[in-house]
Symmetry: D2
Subunit: 150 residues, 4 copies
C-alpha cells in the first residue's frame, strides 16, 4: 500500500466536569473515551463509515488490541484540547494510529499509539478492512510504509 498524503485528522475536545477527578484534572480512563470518540469521528467524518453503520448495519468493528500511552501533563476542567490522529502503519486488518491531545498552550498532554484490528463482530475474528475504507484511511498515513514504524 502506498503512503498517503499524511493528512492529520483533528478535532477539539472539551474537558468536562464529568471527565475530572477529585484532583480537578482528567481521570485518565476518560482520555480513552476521548480517543475512542476521536477515532469514531474520524471514521464517520473523514472515512464515510459511521460507527453505527459499521457495527449495527455491516457487522464489523475496530476493537483496540494494543495501546501505548504517555500522559505528559494533566488537563484541567474547562480546557479545550486539540486532538490529532495520524495513521502510522496499515496492515490488511490492522490500523496503527498515532494520536496526540494538546493543551491550549499547544503542549502535548497525551501521546498514544493505538492499534486497531478489523473484526467480524459475529465470528469475532480479524477480517481484511473493507477496501474503500482502507483506501480512505491510507490517505491519513504519513509514513512511507517501506520504512518500519515502531
Amino acid at each position: 500500500m502506498n503512503p498517503g498524503s499524511g493528512r492529520v485528522f483533528a478535532t477539539r475536545i472539551p474537558v468536562r466536569f464529568g471527565d475530572c477527578d477529585p484532583a480537578g484534572i482528567v481521570f485518565y480512563p476518560r482520555y480513552f473515551e476521548m480517543i475512542n470518540g476521536l477515532v469514531e469521528d474520524w471514521c464517520g467524518q473523514a472515512l464515510s463509515t459511521s460507527f453505527h453503520d459499521m457495527h449495527l448495519r455491516d457487522g464489523w468493528g475496530l476493537p483496540t488490541v494494543h495501546l501505548e500511552t504517555d500522559f505528559l501533563a494533566p488537563s484541567e476542567l474547562g480546557e479545550n484540547l486539540q486532538a490529532e490522529l495520524r495513521v502510522e502503519k496499515m496492515g490488511g486488518a490492522s490500523l496503527h494510529l498515532a494520536i496526540r491531545l494538546l493543551g491550549p498552550d499547544n503542549a502535548e498532554r497525551v501521546r498514544a499509539k493505538v492499534v486497531l484490528v478489523a473484526m467480524d463482530l459475529k465470528e469475532r475474528r480479524a477480517i481484511p478492512m473493507p477496501r474503500e475504507f482502507a483506501i480512505r484511511a491510507n490517505t491519513y498515513c504519513g509514513t512511507d510504509t517501506a520504512e518500519p514504524t515502531n
Copy 2:
C-alpha cells in the same frame, strides 16, 4: 398479584476515585451506574436472571422509563454505601422500584423511584415479564398492592 414478603435486596457499593468529581464527591450520573448495578445484581443474584442471559440469550431487557431521585447528602471518596432495593408495585410489564443508598452513618444519601419496563429488544416494544421472573420479583414487593403506591 398478592403482596410478597416485602424482602429487601441489599448490597454494598464502594465510592471509587472514578466516581468522584472535582468537588471530591460522587458525580451524580455515577449514582445511576450504581443503581443500574444494583438492579443487575438483584436480577442475577436474587431472581436467577442474569443480565447476560436476559439481554444476550433471551432477547429482552428492563429499560428504565421513569425515575425520580432525591440527592439528600453528598457521598465521599472511599465511603462504602449500603444499597437497598424494594419492589413498590408491579404491573404485567412494569416494575416500580424503591431504591436507597445509605452512607456509613446510615443516613440516606440518595432516594430513588425507578420504573422499569420489560421490553423485547428486537421489536422494541413492552412485553409481559416472564412468569418465573415476575413471581420471584414479587417476593420483594412489600406494599399491599390494594393500597395505591404513588
Copy 3:
C-alpha cells in the same frame, strides 16, 4: 426579580459508541452526563460562568438535589440529539430546569426536571446564587416569577 424572556439554551449532543449499551442504545446514566454537560455549557456559554471558575476559582457549585426523568424513546448510536434547557423556576439558592433531549425526528427522547442548588463547596451548605449569575439565569426563565418559587 422580573420574568425573563423565556429563552431556551440549545445545543447538539452526539450519541457516541461509549454512550451505548449491549442493546445498541444509550445507557441511561450517560443521559445524565449529557444533561450535566448541557448545564455546564449553559453556565459557561450563556451565563459567563464556567464550571472551572465556579468550582476551582470561586469555590461554589450547583449540585443536583432532585430530578425527575421520563425516558420516552431510545436513542441510537450515531444520532445527533437536540438538547434544550429552560429555567422553570428560581429561588434564592435554587434553579429548577426543564430539559429535553430530542431525536433527529424532533420527537422527545428524554424529558427531565432538574433542581440545582448553589452550594459553598468548602462549607457544603446552600448559598444564594451570585447576583450576576442569577440575573443572567433568569433570562432563561419562562415562568412569571410573580407566582411563587419555592
Copy 4:
C-alpha cells in the same frame, strides 16, 4: 531496594452492563476504570493507604504517567474477571505495575504495564513516595531489580 516477596494482589471484578458496548463486550476505556479500581483497592487494602486519605487528607496522588496494554480477548457481560497486580520495579517516586485481567477460563484478557508517579497534588510535581507506603509496596515486587525489567 531489595526485591520483596513477590506477592500478588488479586481481586475479582464483575463485567457489568454499563461496562459493555453495542458489541456486547467491555468498552476498553472501562478496563482502565477497572485497573484504576484495582490500584485503589491495593493501596487501601494492602498498603493501608486509602485513596481518600492519600488525595484528600495527605495531598498526594499516584497519577498514571505511562501505560502499555494488550487487549488479548474480549470480555463479556456478566463475566467475573480475576484481576492481578504485581510490582515490577520501583523508583523513588515511581511504581511500575504489571497488571493482568483473566477470564473465567483463566486466559488473559488484558495485560498492562502501568507506571505511576507519586505527585504532590498542590505543587503538581513528583515527590518521593512516603516511606511506609514504599516499604509495603515493595513487598509486592517480585522481580530482582538487578535484572532489568523492560
